[in-house]
């Protein structure tokens, strides 16, 4: 039997080897694990690329190029598409129409929903019933709602003209046609916005309102001095999201007015659909798309900015 001399050097070497194999195993296990984590994210990432980032990038590139009818880029033209766009009367009409809608819809909707919320603000049984009435339009999809309003405003069979004893040809007059779109817009928005504002109003501390009333403030000044400042974050949220929706308005236009009369209700996204999709003019459609992106992005920035300044936080 020969005794093998084991040096301390060998022991150290062996220990190091063992350490390495164990460590490597753990490491590869970890790597496998994090590789799996990427797999979990993969579907979402692919979808984000294919249906958001890639089309966005392509829209921007197309807006700067001449694009053929088959969707292939012919040449880079810089800002020419935008120059053409902004010197085109029809595009300016679409842009103004979109703003017109926003200027009418956003404030009217806000006031309407605020009034509705103030009416049922106190928690009572009959108010719970009224609340349900106010939010019921949420259950109706856009195209159904637009079709119903189309019938209600119809000058021949519609009941609106009868109720108000008027005889307006709603869809033949540019202003009234826009007005029907605004009414439909408010009707579709009332459920959600009313609930948001009601929630905000009810979260205003009761003591503050009581204190104001003790000081002799009437309902009106209590509202403007106490409640309104306290619910301003919600108001801001409603205003910004509705402004954004206004910039993207298209579906109700298609069903209710078809953009008419004489383009008076054609909005940006509807024009983008007509130019880019129906007429196959991808350069122009993409340029309008970029304008829409710019406007909505501006609104998001505005939201962040004004949030810092005016809004009250408890």
């Amino acid at each position: 039997m020969t005794l093998k001399r084991i040096s301390s050097k060998d022991i150290a070497k062996k220990a190091l080897e063992d350490y390495h194999t164990v460590h490597m195993k753990a490491l590869s296990l970890n790597q496998k694990r994090s590789l799996k984590a990427y797999l979990y994210l993969l579907p979402a990432l692919i979808l984000a690329y294919v249906f958001s980032y890639r089309p966005f990038a392509r829209t921007v590139v197309n807006s700067l190029s001449l694009v053929s009818f088959s969707g292939k880029i012919v040449e880079f033209v810089g800002l020419e598409n935008f120059q053409k766009l902004f010197s085109d009367k029809n595009f300016i009409i679409g842009l103004t129409n979109t703003f017109k809608f926003a200027i009418l819809f956003v404030p009217l909707n806000l006031v309407f929903c605020l009034v509705a919320a103030l009416l049922v603000y106190k928690k009572r049984r009959f108010n719970a019933f009224n609340e349900t009435l106010f939010i019921l339009p949420m259950a109706v999809a856009m195209s159904s709602a637009a079709l119903i309003f189309k019938a209600l405003f119809n000058p021949t069979i519609g009941v609106i003209n009868y109720f108000f004893s008027i005889s307006i040809k709603w869809f033949d007059d540019p202003w009234w046609a826009m007005f029907t779109l605004v009414i439909l817009g408010i009707w579709m928005a009332v459920g959600l916005d009313f609930l948001l504002l009601l929630g905000a109003l009810r979260s205003v501390p009761k003591q503050l309102i009581e204190a104001a009333q003790m000081e002799g403030a009437n309902a009106l000044s209590t509202f403007f001095r106490v409640q309104l400042p306290l619910i301003s974050p919600t108001i801001l949220f409603v205003v910004i999201t509705r402004l954004r929706d206004s910039m993207l308005l298209s579906g109700p236009v298609m069903v209710l007015t078809g953009g008419g009369p004489q383009r008076s209700t054609q909005t940006l996204v509807y024009q983008m659909y007509l130019d880019g999709f129906v007429a196959g003019n991808y350069s122009r459609g993409s340029a309008i798309g970029v304008v829409v992106f710019f406007l909505t992005f501006l609104l998001i920035l505005l939201a962040f900015r004004s949030e810092k300044r005016r809004v009250f936080y408890q």
Binding site: K36, S52, R54, N62, V115, F126, M142, A151, G289
Partner: protein, 275 residues
Amino acid sequence: MRNRFLKTELLKGIAATLLGLAIIFPIYYAFVASFFTIQDFSLYPPKIFITSLNWQNYIRAFKESLLFRFMLNSLFIGIVGSTLRMGVAILAAFAVAQLDFKGRNFLFFLILGTMMLPPDALIIENYLTISKLGLVDTYLGIMSIYLLAPTQMFMLRQGFKSIPKTYREVASIDGCGDLRFLISVAIPMSRSLILTLWLHSFVTIWNTYLWPLLVTNKPYMRTVQVGITMLGYTESLDYGPIFAAITLLVLPSVIIFLVLRKRIVSGIASGTIVG
């Protein structure tokens, strides 16, 4: 003083009820008018009550159009689409909430960043993509752009984050892999949130208009929201069948809405359902 207070409260209540009735009038009218004959529409003063149950409009809506097929299309797209959508969101949210890996936050924000790009402004390019993939007039084509839901992913992440990490460690010692943990622990624990988000997805996909209009050419592939606008009765003021179709669509969702009212209201208050 107290008397005056009660009086204003009563007046407010009456005003609110009148306003509420005005708000639901379009829904009421669609229901009532679905029983009108074509002559009823031309009466003056206009009819706003049901005088006889005339089912002719319902029969015509089904016989003269593909309404039933439209409904099946929408139902299929709604169910499959929101299930796939939840699947994608659950996988991603779980990875971000429970697993550690490099670039986690960056990838998460990359997905959330899609919220900055409104889908309505991307429709033309998305249409070109779908047509290149040969998915025009297919269910997958209609569903495609709804499969990613960043807001839902964000909410699911919050839900999964509330599961203590020690749960996963203990499960992992017992030989339970991440996927198994997700399916048998994380998903059941967030059941009610997932159900709410699924329902919300279903409603979103069911109600959508512009995109299905673009990616369907064949009449029998249309969704119901697109289909009812193309029934073609509006020009001849023959609104009966349209109101019958609308009633068939609106009635179930109104009933579901009334049943789930408390859930929806609290969902909006807590920020689960916005947009």
